[in-house]
């Protein structure tokens, strides 16, 4: 009915707007692209810099290795971005990596088909995410605390069931992490499966966040939870979905990691969550919620990845890398702050 109200007197206006409807979408879209361009530009600059400074940095083999190594952080960064956009956080993903990889390896060693064992791993990650979501929504535990608890519980659990020992997995378990597509020569050793998984996840979740109702509601909940609730959005459901996505992405990373090593890694993934959060933040996600993109998380992860590999190849120690990554996190957020203040 209100549609009638609104349509009736605007026939002229509508005709007008149709006349100019080629321009309409333009109506201000460019500004957004610019914001993201800054961070992507930083990535390109870093890449060029290391190509000049470090010999062998810009070789096909190295670039492929870089992509392969960065895939785990990227996957985690994409997942954790969802929780941060809702105004939360997920600290448990480092432990979830260890748990899911270990679950998959145990399942494979118990004689399950490899694919099924990996599905088991994924399921365990989804369960962790679901429990996080329930704690945050049902029990109203602050996300930092809930996922901190989960981080400890999951780590303790995986250490208990394995007695803190790495176990080798069947050889077939290693295909996912170590095999490549498009193997041509030793110069082009092919692109690892994890890289394809990473690209697929980035595209699917990027689209999901940007283009679907649930994605839109994710932003809305983070931007203004009460306004979202009063608009009829089921806030709890959206949050639980965000934590499940985070758990799922971490599980993918965990399985890939276990597969690359062809062993379970109950001690693996410690403090990985911090790298993932850093990647997300470098990519422009706001810890206050409501702001962030999958593309940003991907670029942020690659900045961390390039810094790590580039500095290593330039001869810098692991400790110096830590300093560099820390400075990049602080720097990128201060640039954001200055930019917002100007507005």
């Amino acid at each position: 009915m209100s549609n009638e109200i609104t349509r009736e007197p605007t026939i002229a206006a509508e005709a007008e707007s149709k006349a100019e409807s080629k321009a309409p979408a333009g109506f201000g879209r460019k500004k957004f692209a610019l914001d993201r361009f800054v961070i992507f530009g930083a990535f390109v600059v870093l890449f060029i810099l290391f190509s000049v400074v470090a010999k062998n940095f810009f070789t096909m083999r190295n670039v492929l290795t870089l992509a392969l190594q960065t895939s785990t952080v990227t996957l985690m960064g994409i997942g954790v971005t969802f929780t941060i956009i809702t105004g939360g956080i997920d600290l448990s993903i480092g432990s979830v990596i260890a748990l899911t990889g270990t679950v998959a390896v145990i399942a494979a060693n118990a004689g399950m088909p490899i694919w099924l064992s990996m599905v088991m791993g994924l399921v365990s990650g989804i369960v962790c995410g679901f429990l996080n979501g329930i704690m945050v929504t049902g029990l109203r535990i602050p996300p930092f605390i809930a996922t901190l608890g989960m981080m400890m519980v999951a780590r303790g659990f995986v250490l208990t069931i394995t007695n803190a020992m790495s176990k080798p997995a069947p050889d077939a378990f290693g295909h996912l992490g170590n095999d490549t597509l498009f193997h041509l020569s030793s110069k082009f050793p092919g692109i690892g499966y994890p890289v394809f998984i990473m690209i697929a996840v980035a595209i699917v979740f990027g689209f999901f966040l940007r283009k679907t109702r649930i994605g839109r509601y994710t932003y809305a909940v983070g931007s203004n939870e009460e306004a979202s609730r009063l608009s009829g959005i089921k806030v709890s459901r959206i949050k639980v979905i965000a934590y499940i996505i985070s758990g799922f992405c971490a599980a993918l990373a965990g399985i890939i990691l276990a597969s690359r090593m062809v062993t379970s890694q109950p001690n693996g993934g410690i403090s990985y969550e911090l790298n993932a959060i850093a990647a997300s933040v470098i990519g422009g996600t706001s810890l206050m919620g409501g702001i962030g993109t999958v593309a940003g998380a991907v670029v942020g992860s690659f900045i961390i990845g390039v810094l790590g590999v580039g500095l290593t190849m330039s001869g810098a120690s692991f400790f110096v890398q830590q300093i560099a990554i820390g400075l990049v996190v602080i720097g990128s957020v201060s640039i954001d702050q200055i930019r917002y203040k100007k507005k």
């Binding site: 549609n3 109200i5 206006a13 979408a25 109506f27 009829g232 089921k234 702001i291």
Partner: protein, 530 residues
């Protein structure tokens, strides 16, 4: 005649798009209580923020104790002896009363750590002077709002201010507390403190005020001795136009068809069994004082707050409303009084806000949003409601209050809501934009929408509605036909006095005519600024 303590000369201040103050002047003598009155947006708060160093003026000068001053920040003005009690509480809930009073200037012991004992003793002395029974060691958030307000006052007093600015100090106080405050004001005045007193409750001015200055739309209008000016004259100066022209003409009558029947809504002690009907094409007002349960009633009907019992019936069918999404599905919409906190996702874009309650309408299969359809819908409403925005993709934060309100309305129109509950729809919105909102509400009713209008401004209720529900402390005290009632009658029922009696209602009438009524403590931050 006492010495002039503070002289504001032709001070101007503008914000992007608003001339908040246009060469206003103001004078405060030692030992006087000087009232500053005006409608929302008259510029009172802006001037206070300039005096207290929060804003710097664009032009004009301020002479304080014979010297021109330019305060760079709040600290400088406080040190110079200008104290301010803001309408919103500026206290730290988790600290003790004494810690709040001396926040930032704690007394130190010889060794440099905080001397808690001295702090508590000093705080107790100030509180005693105020005649309030508050333990200085108790944590602030254990106190009622009115007691917290007294702490705020104690804090300002503790600074030995020579100029004290009080911005709506009584809005949360009880009668006895107000009396105590007035005693304190008298005491301060006899001590030679100059007090600038801002209040919408014109009735209370007669107890304390020496002179009164009126601002309107950022301009200085007049200053008079309070004794020589009548209430009516003050109001005319404040409003500066005939009240009748403020509202669009009602061009339809409600139909006989009941759109909504609300039966016996109970929620704790807040709502004590309220029933009412809403007809198609009707504008139904809800009036009442602060704390009467107006917003709570709306929120209970909308499912935003739980209710203990009560039925909501639409077209003969009982609705099972347990959450806002249930209400929305049944065509009910609620436009919260706190636009920024509860109505909009301010970091998100205009188009995203317009479609937020009805994304399904612009989505394809699998919940994928069609950007083109979203823009099309947004464009329709931007044009329809005349939302002034540089772009359909504008971030909401950058729009003015009036335009933000229109975005909220657009959101619910796009949802095809048949029942719209407006909670203080014009709070913090400038006069021109108000009229546009009123026209819109009138047009909605003409199209057959049932409108519930909650308002603290009685002129708004009288100018817009067909019927009025009057609430008092959670009970419905009257259902009145607007055409047959008056401000006095509504106020009597709102005060719980029953039908028309004498009881000082006409003074309160003036208060509501000032266009502000009882400002809520949790008013949107943007509402009281400027």
């Amino acid at each position: 005649m006492a010495e002039v303590l503070l002289h504001v000369e032709h001070v101007s201040k503008s914000f992007p798009g608003v001339q908040a103050l246009d060469a206003v002047s103001f004078e405060l003598r030692r030992g006087e209580v000087h009232a500053l009155v005006g409608e929302n947006g008259a510029g009172k708060s802006t001037l206070m923020k300039i005096l207290s160093g929060v804003y710097r003026p664009d032009g004009g000068r301020i002479v304080y104790k014979g010297r021109e001053v330019r305060f760079q920040n709040a600290r400088e003005s406080a040190e110079a002896g200008i104290g301010i009690i803001y309408q919103e509480l500026n206290l730290v809930p988790h600290l003790s009363v004494a810690q709040n009073i001396y926040l930032g200037r704690e007394p130190r012991s010889l060794l440099g750590y905080i001397d808690d004992r001295k702090m508590n003793v000093d705080a107790a002395r100030i509180l005693r002077e105020l005649n309030v029974d508050i333990d200085p060691a108790v944590r602030l958030n254990k106190l009622s709002i009115s007691k917290q307000q007294m702490v705020e006052i104690a804090k300002a007093l503790s600074k030995d201010s020579e100029v004290l600015i009080m911005d709506e100090p009584t809005s949360a106080l009880t009668e006895t507390e107000i009396d105590e405050l007035f005693k304190v004001i008298h005491k301060l005045r006899s001590r030679g403190v100059g007090i600038i007193y801002i209040s919408h409750r014109l009735d209370e001015l007669k107890h304390i005020v020496d002179r009164i200055t009126v601002f309107r739309d950022g301009r200085y209008i007049s200053t008079s001795d309070y004794a020589s000016i009548g209430m009516e004259e003050i109001i005319n100066k404040m409003v500066g136009r005939k009240l009748e022209n403020l509202f669009p003409e009602r061009r339809n009558l409600p139909t006989e068809r009941k759109l909504l029947e609300v039966r016996n809504i109970v929620h704790g002690t807040v709502l004590k069994g309220i029933s009412f009907d809403l007809y198609e094409g009707e504008i139904l007002g809800i009036a009442g004082l602060m704390g009467a349960g107006r917003s709570e009633l709306a929120r209970a009907v909308f499912g935003a707050d739980p209710r203990d019992s009560g039925d909501i019936i639409r077209e003969g069918r009982k609705l099972d409303i347990r959450s806002p999404s249930d209400a929305i599905r049944n065509g009910i919409a609620y436009l919260s009084e706190n636009r920024k906190e509860e109505g909009l996702a301010v970091k998100m874009r205009l188009d995203q806000n317009v479609t937020m309650a009805n994304l399904g309408e612009v989505s394809r299969r699998f919940g994928i949003i069609s950007g083109a359809r979203e823009l099309e819908a947004t464009r329709t409403y931007v044009e329809e409601l005349d939302i002034r925005t540089p772009s359909l993709l504008q971030v909401i934060n950058n729009l003015s209050g009036g335009n933000q309100q229109k975005v909220v309305i657009a959101k619910w129109l796009f949802r095809d809501s048949r029942i719209l509950i407006f909670d203080e729809p014009t709070r913090g919105i400038d006069v021109g934009a108000k009229y546009a909102i009123y026209e819109l509400i009138e047009r909605l009713a003409r199209e057959g929408v049932g409108v519930i209008l909650i308002s603290s401004e009685l002129p708004e209720i009288l100018g817009m509605t067909d019927r009025v529900l009057v609430l008092h402390e959670g009970s419905l005290t009257a259902t009145l036909r607007t055409a047959d009632t008056s401000q006095e009658e509504i106020l009597n029922y709102a005060a719980g006095l029953g039908s028309l009696g004498a009881h000082g209602a006409s003074a309160a009438l003036a208060a509501s005519a000032s266009g502000a009524g009882a400002p809520g403590r949790n008013a949107a931050p943007g509402a009281s600024a400027r």
